[in-house]
Every structure is written in structure tokens, then in C-alpha cells.
């Protein structure tokens, strides 16, 4: 985004279009000159850099283009005050002394500086250098993160488009993907959207609450901030109404799409990659992040896959953009954390929810941010209220409840009679896989399943012949390690092997801590 006065746009036939620059040798040369000026400006005064840029401007280049590119590069710089002492404190001391002495002539002011420098114990030169060192022109360019001319040009074009959108009354767009990030930004900017299904995709229009009463460019800046996310999508198109106040408030159409500006615009994703470290910044510790972290620490073992920012859910003309999804056994539960809200807002959200079938969503609403004193919506199981942090307990309870009911459902669907075992060793995993059911639901369904000719050992069914064969072999060995090797050689996995020993009535006798010395025995045999 650029300052509005650096917008370059062309109007023709009722349409407006940013004056894009191409990645051609001429523009690349200009971009390189400007980048060069910044590069050479390192360690020097900002005033000198500005002087250099003015020269570039005065060589017959479009001054708005030069300033626009410079504005983008300036954001990649670190400027610092070059002074060991505090300039403001020095000024105050000098100005007070000068006022007291009523100094006006050059000699008189020089004398003031001399006396203050003596008092502060610094040299006259260093005092003079300090005095105005925090003014813009006097700042030193400490650091500059360069980028290539091509990237600068494309970033400039993107910024130019955003700057045009500052004056937009409303925007319509479509995109082939990246919805999650697009709507996240829409939400963050407090815009109002409506979604319409169109052919293959969706068409979204963006404006704000007050757009209803008047044409206002109030939301233009917010709309502009969504643009990088839109153009990150593989295919996209944008249509905007632009208000030109300087032309007596006429409205112009602006339309473009990914094909038209291919290679001209920097996408949002690219912009983030190439953003200087300063701009990328650290993420805040948000409510959402704290929730994710504590969920994984406390309940990670429950086996729910927690995903942040899952895909949006389309409900009629609206979308729901959940913050999290919890996934397990083909079960998906969404969680949306709501900051600022009104009862209407929640009600609307819930009615949106109702319009999409089969979606299970929990809404966590911040009690302290309720912007209304109306009574809370009672009796809505899906809404959890929180203060400061989203509580884990009700959510985990909800998940557990959903899990057990879905397991029960799945288990009920498994017809025990249809299960015919074949082979010596059959595991529950195999049975689950055959039926496309979860292990949990199979084991729930087969809790009391005792098929003829088979015995159950842990998650295994083992044929009686096989058991007999193993028992014979086992009676000839004493060591546990040998016994386990025999069992595992029959196709039983290590973790199930000891269960087979149990089934056959063997116990392990430990005589020390080493596994090599553990013996097995069959108490029942001895007593016989």
C-alpha cells in the first residue's frame, strides 16, 4: 500500500486501471537505480538518501513512480539516531540557556553552545552534531534489506492496486482457493460479505455496515488489505467500484484477473516470503494459540488430530471460518473462537450452522467482549462462554461424548453374525480394515464375541490348533525370551505375544532385573 497521493491510474471509457509498470529493461534499470541509492545509503544520513532519490526523480522519471518504489524500500530500512547523548535533553539545555541569555546574533548563540557544552562535558562539535540528530534528515540508515528489481516492480504493482482500492465503494471477487486466508482477513478487517454460488466457484462481495446508506470509501483501506490474499489464489478475478472525488464524485469500474496481470503482481504468499524480517514480525500469543498449545499438552494423548484454520464451510450466502478442527475416526468437530460479538451475531452464526447439515461445531464466545447487555443465549449447547482463555474441559467433554456415540453407532452397524474368521491369527485391525471401521468400534462391537474354534488374546483371535501347537513348543523351554520368540514366529506381534502367554496360563517368574533370566512356568500344570 502506498500513500494515496502516489496513486497512478488511467481512466478510459468509464473504467479505471492502475498504471502498472512492466518488468521491462527500462523499468528494471530504474528500479535498480533506486535500490542502488538505498544500498549506498547504508551508514549515511537519510537526508542524503532523499537527495539522491530527488535526483533520480529530476532525470525526467515519473516522480510518483520513483516515490512509490522508494516508499516500499523505505519500509525495508532501519533508521537510527546517530548520537551518544539524548538529543532532546541537549536541546532543552541549549534552548533554555539561549532564552536566558537572550542570544540573537551568531556570536551570542555560539557562546551559548560553548557554555552548555562545557557544562555537559562534551566538545562543541559533538554538541552541535547531537542537537538536531533526531530530525528525519539527520537519521542514519543503519540497515537496508535489498530485494531484486523484478520483485520490487511486482510489489509496486500490487501496492498500486491496493492504493486504488482505498477509494473503492465495494468489491466483488472470486478465487479458486486460499479461502481460509481470504476470509480470515475479511473477518479481521470487520467487513461484511455475501457469497453467491456461481458455476464452478463462489462469488463474494465485500463492503461494510454503512454501505447500505451511502456510498462510502470508508471500507476501502480494509478491502485493500484483503487483496494480497485474493491474488494468492491460483485463479482469481476482482471487480471494484472506485470513487473519484477529484472528478466530482464519479464512479469508475475496475476489473482485473489473474490472466490479465500474470507476472505483474506479487502474490500475498510471495510478499510474505520476501517481506523483510522487520515487517514479518512475531506472532502474538492469541487466545487461539494458547488454546492449541494447552490442548495438545493436556489432551494430546486422546488421539484427536488438531488442525488450525481448516477449510471454510459454506452455508447459503455465508461462510463459516472455523479456527480449529478436531479429527478422529472420520469424525470432524469444528471450533470457532469468537472475540467481539452481539447476541444477533451469535444467533446468526447458529442459524447459519443449522443450514449446513452434518457439521458439528462448537462456538466459544468471550464473555468479557460481549458488546451488549442482553441476556446470553441460553440452552445452546454449542456455545461455550469463556473469560480470557477458552476452557478445555467442556470441549474435551463434547469430543468424548461425540466419540463414544459415534463408536456406539458404528459398533451397532457391525453384524457379528457375518464375521467369519479364517487363518490361524486374525487381528482386530484386520477386521476393522476389511469393514472400513475404526479399531475402537470393532473392539466395542466384538467385546463379547466368542467364535467357535478360536480364542481371544488381546486384539487377536487365534485358532485352537495354533494355540495347541504353540503350547507344545512352549512346554520345552524355560526362558521368557525363548518363549516370546516362539510365539512371534507364528505371526503374532511383539506387543501381543505376552497376551498369548496369559491365555495359555503361563506366568513369568522374575529373578532379578534382567529379561534373560526370566523363566516361564504354568502353575495350573503343576497343581494337576
Amino acid at each position: 500500500m502506498l500513500p494515496s497521493n502516489l496513486l497512478r491510474a488511467k481512466i478510459a471509457g468509464g473504467k479505471i486501471r492502475p498504471a502498472y509498470v512492466n518488468v521491462d529493461p527500462e523499468t528494471v534499470a530504474l528500479a535498480e537505480r533506486i535500490i542502488g541509492a538505498f544500498r549506498e545509503g547504508r551508514g549515511r544520513k537519510k537526508g542524503e538518501l532523499l537527495e539522491r532519490l530527488k535526483e533520480v526523480e529530476n532525470e525526467g522519471n515519473d516522480f510518483k513512480l520513483v516515490r512509490g518504489m522508494s516508499a516500499l524500500l523505505e519500509r525495508r530500512c532501519v533508521f537510527e539516531v546517530d548520537s551518544a547523548t539524548n538529543p532532546m535533553a541537549a536541546r532543552m539545555a541549549v534552548f533554555e540557556k539561549a532564552s536566558k541569555a537572550k542570544a540573537t546574533s551568531v556570536d551570542e548563540t555560539k557562546a551559548v553552545l560553548r557554555s552548555v557544552s562545557a557544562k555537559l562535558g562534551v566538545s562543541l562539535e559533538s554538541l552541535e552534531k547531537t542537537l538536531f540528530s533526531d530530525l528525519e534528515d539527520e537519521l542514519i540508515t543503519r540497515d537496508f534489506e535489498p530485494l531484486s528489481a523484478e520483485l520490487l516492480i511486482r510489489q509496486y504493482n500490487l501496492s498500486l492496486t491496493q492504493t486504488l482500492l482505498f477509494k473503492s465503494l465495494r468489491v466483488e471477487f472470486s478465487a479458486s482457493g486460499n479461502w481460509k486466508n481470504i476470509f480470515r482477513e475479511v473477518k479481521r478487517q470487520g467487513l461484511i460479505y455475501s457469497v453467491e454460488k456461481q458455476d464452478a466457484g463462489y462469488r463474494v462481495s465485500l463492503d461494510g455496515p454503512l454501505s447500505l446508506f451511502k456510498f462510502t470509501e470508508r471500507y476501502g483501506t480494509s478491502i485493500a488489505k484483503v487483496l494480497p490474499q485474493i491474488v494468492t489464489s491460483e485463479k482469481w478475478s476482482v471487480k471494484a467500484e472506485i470513487l473519484a472525488r477529484s472528478r466530482g464524485g464519479r464512479v469508475y469500474a475496475f476489473e482485473t484477473n489473474n490472466k490479465e496481470v500474470e507476472g505483474l503482481l506479487l502474490s500475498g504468499a510471495e510478499e510474505r516470503v520476501h517481506a523483510s524480517g522487520k515487517q514479518a514480525g512475531a506472532f502474538d500469543s492469541t487466545v487461539e494459540e494458547r488454546f492449541a498449545r494447552s490442548f495438545l499438552v493436556s489432551y494430546g494423548s486422546l488421539g484427536w488430530a488438531l488442525r488450525r484454520e481448516p477449510e471454510p464451510l459454506v452455508a447459503g450466502t455465508h461462510v463459516l471460518i472455523p479456527d480449529f478442527s478436531f479429527e478422529k475416526h472420520a469424525l470432524k468437530v469444528y471450533l470457532e473462537v469468537v472475540g467481539f460479538w452481539t447476541p444477533e451475531y451469535l444467533q446468526r452464526k447458529l442459524s447459519k450452522l443449522k443450514s449446513i447439515e452434518g457439521v458439528d461445531m462448537i462456538i466459544a464466545a468471550d464473555e468479557s467482549l460481549a458488546c451488549s447487555r442482553l441476556e446470553r443465549l441460553k440452552g445452546k449447547a454449542e456455545v461455550i462462554y469463556y473469560k480470557k482463555d477458552v476452557p478445555l474441559k467442556p470441549i474435551v467433554e463434547h469430543l468424548k461424548e461425540r466419540e463414544s456415540s459415534i463408536l456406539r453407532e458404528q459398533a451397532d452397524r457391525i453384524e457379528k453374525d457375518s464375521i467369519i474368521l479364517s487363518g490361524d491369527v486374525v487381528s482386530l485391525e484386520d477386521l476393522a480394515r476389511e469393514r472400513d471401521a475404526s479399531l475402537e468400534s470393532i473392539s466395542l462391537a466384538l467385546q463379547d464375541f466368542r467364535p467357535g474354534g478360536y480364542a481371544r488374546a488381546g486384539n487377536l483371535f487365534i485358532s485352537e490348533e495354533k494355540l495347541k501347537e504353540m503350547d507344545e513348543k512352549l512346554s520345552k523351554v524355560e526362558k521368557l525370551t525363548e518363549a516370546l520368540a516362539i510365539i512371534e514366529s507364528s505371526g503374532v506381534r511383539e506387543e501381543e505375544a505376552s497376551k498369548v502367554l496369559d491365555v495359555l496360563g503361563y506366568i513369568s517368574v522374575w529373578e532379578g532385573m534382567e529379561i534373560d533370566k526370566v523363566r516361564i512356568s504354568k502353575p495350573s500344570l503343576r497343581s494337576n
Partner: protein, 483 residues
Amino acid sequence: MQPTYLSYDKGSILVRSEAKVPYSVWDVRVGAFRAPAFYYSEIVEFLNKSDLSAIKDGVEDLPPCPELKCRSVEMRAYQRRALGSWDKAGRRGVIVLPTGAGKTVIGMKAIELVNQPAIVIVPTLDLLEQWRRRVQEELGIEVGAYGGGENVIKAVTVCTYDSAYLRAGELGNRFGLLIFDEVHHLPAESFRQIAEMFTAPCRMGLTATYERDDMLHLELPRLIGGVVYRLKPEDLAGRYLSDYTIERVNVELTSEEKEEYRKNYSVFANYLEKNRIWLRSPLDFQRFIMRTSRDPQARQALLARNRAISIAFNSQAKVDRLEEILRSHPEDRILIFTQHNDLVYRISRRFLLPFITHTTNKDERYEVLKGFREGKFRAIVTSKVLDEGIDVPEASLGVIVSGTGSSREFVQRLGRLLRKSEGKERARLIELVSSETSETRTSSRRRRGGKSGTQKQATGAFPGEESGAPEEDYPTDDQVGQR
């Protein structure tokens, strides 16, 4: 029958009812009626009168508020009358009083009268500090602030126009009283929305310069109410305000400056002549500016004009004359005004005087103004930031080194000097004008509308008040992005 639900949504009122209420429009996007927030009291009144259904009103969300009571301040007779007629007008409307007449006092008394959470919108950070300090002392409460990096809401909150515009959507339902200081800023296209997005039923505007050149002050009655009380400076001069004189001092450019000026100015003039362009009004100039973005020669002409103006504005001769003025007024407390920051810093360096520009941070502004009031500093150099509102009663001499042709700016700058203070006999305002340059016209323009005879030693007249329509200057380099 379903009750009617009212709630606030980012600058508007959402109405969930079975029938449409006045000023509302059906919003398909959310499935409710929506109305601009500033019709809030009208909508509630309508619903109460029509007695259709129960009303569940969740619009206002006022911060906790103690009893708001002024400690000691007494109103002057005219201040009492002003507040009285505002009260009678339904607690809406604009009070027009000359600078220095104590508008802050009226504002604080209005807060006491309404005794509900109040927000004061001000144009600058200096005014924000000033209001905060006054309210804190007088009402004995902590005051919230939005602007300059702060955002704390309290029962009484002071906020800049910029912050109010940006955050109206979240602040709009938090106050019962809305006060606009320097209300002539409000009609600007974007700022207008502040008034529209707030629900506060009680509204007050304060200004010394009500009328705008672009006539947009006609919007004010709709937004906050019309003029309910008005006094001219001559009604108060002498008794409540300082007497003053205005002098224009012509200075000769140095010979090199003259040469440079002529060279540059003729580039501009020749271009205009060659292309048969006449600049008779701000609109003509606007058209010329638009031309410069298409026509490189027009841009060269404009740059040459700006250089010429800059020579006239920043002439060394003015700095020399300023030295004489400083020398011959050792006891005065002096405000030095310029058009651009460059000159501010040049003067500050040359005379070692404290400065305030729009980039000066809060701490330094505070130190400088305090030092000036206490007599630690005998002068302040400033560009436009001190034009409005700020109280420096001790200032007795003003020097305009350069400025625009706006008479509003002129009136406001003069206003800085008019507050009465002990030992101050008469305020003086000196204009330094480069002779034989276009600046002489700029100077005349800014003073046009004053009584005849304001040119020299005119006492008591107040330029800008008579004609009622202050003149804006043609844009200079600000508009065309000159650094």
C-alpha cells in the same frame, strides 16, 4: 408479539422488529433492519411513542461513570448564556466564540450538566493533552485518550478526529455526550462519519471560525445541530480578550534571491501565458494541478513556481529581520509561525529556539509548552501545528514568517495571542512579507475580509469574522507532493 431488539453494529443500529422503523433499511446481508447510528434517539422515541412492542435496547454500552462535577470553575456571563441556549435547544448545536473566550470551560460545564460518559474530539495531540489536563484538574477524574498511540476509554475520553474516524465503529455506542472542539473540521467528508456513527443524543460543537469556504458547514445542523450561540471578538475585546495590533513588514529579497525568484517565476508565468491558462480561483488551480500529472512541462512550471514561492517564503532577509525583532523585544513571549518545517528547523538552529512540528513527540511538546508558559523559553518556532486551540496566554508577540493565504489560518494564529494574562497590555502580530513577490498577494488574501484599516495599527477589528467566509489558499507544494 415479538419484542423489538436494538443493537449497535459498527456505526449502525440493527433493528430486529416485525415492522420497519424510520431511517432504517432492510439489510439482506444480515436479515435485519439497519439504520445509521446517529438516528438512535429518534428511533427510540418513535418506538416508545408507537407502543408497538416491548423494546430490548442493547445499543448503548456506557463505561462506568462517577458523578461528573466541576470543582471550582465559574462561568462568565456569556458562557452561562451560551450553555443555557445549548441546553434549551435540546442539548444539540454549535457555540461560536472567539479564540480565548474559554470554550473549554463551556465544554466541561456541559459534561457536568449531562452527567453521562462524554467524548471530546479534538484536531491535534496538543489539544488532546490540554483537554485532558483541564478535565483531570477540574472534574478530578482520570481521563481516557484515543490518539498518539494511546487507547484508553474512561467516562470522559478525549480523542483526535483521526482516531475517532478510524475507531468510530467501536467507540460509537459508548458515550451519551459528544463534544467537537474546533468543529469546523467536522464537515470534511471523512470526519463527517464520526458524527454519523456515534449514538450520543447530546452533541456540542465549539469553534471560533464556523463558516467554511467550501460551504460544507451547511452539513453541521444535520450532524450535531445549528448555531445556538454566537459572539464576535469585538463583543469581548478589552474586557475578556486582549487588545491587539497587526503589522505587515515588507522585506527585500537579497539580490541573488531576487534573481532566482525572477528566473523561476517566469518559467511558471511563461507556461501559463503560452497555454492560455488563467488561475483565478482555487478550482482553476486544481485543474492546473491535474494537468501537471499529464503534461511534463506543466509539472516543470509548477516546480518552478514552488521554488519561487519557497525563495520568497524562506528568504534570508526574513531571518535577518527576525533577528532584529528578537533583539528589540527582549521581554516578550514570542510565537514564530512558518509554512514549512524546513524553515522551522532553520530558525531553531540559527536562534537556538525550541520548535514544535507535527513530528515532535508528545514529551517534547509538553516540555516546550510548559517551558514557554513558565518563562524558561522566550519563543517557540512552529509550522502549522500550533495554529489551533492550544492555550498560551503568555504569548504577547506573534511573527508570521510565512503562511498560506487562508484567513482561517490567520485568525487562528492571531487567536493564540488574544488570551488575557497578567502584565500583557496588548498583543502584536507581525507579518513578514517578501516585497515584489507573489507573497504580497498571499498576505492580502489571508487578511481580506478584515475591516478596512487592519493594515496597520488597527485595533479591535477581527479579520475573517466580517465576511463570514474564510478563504482557503491555493494548494502549494503539499498537494503536489513536494518534499
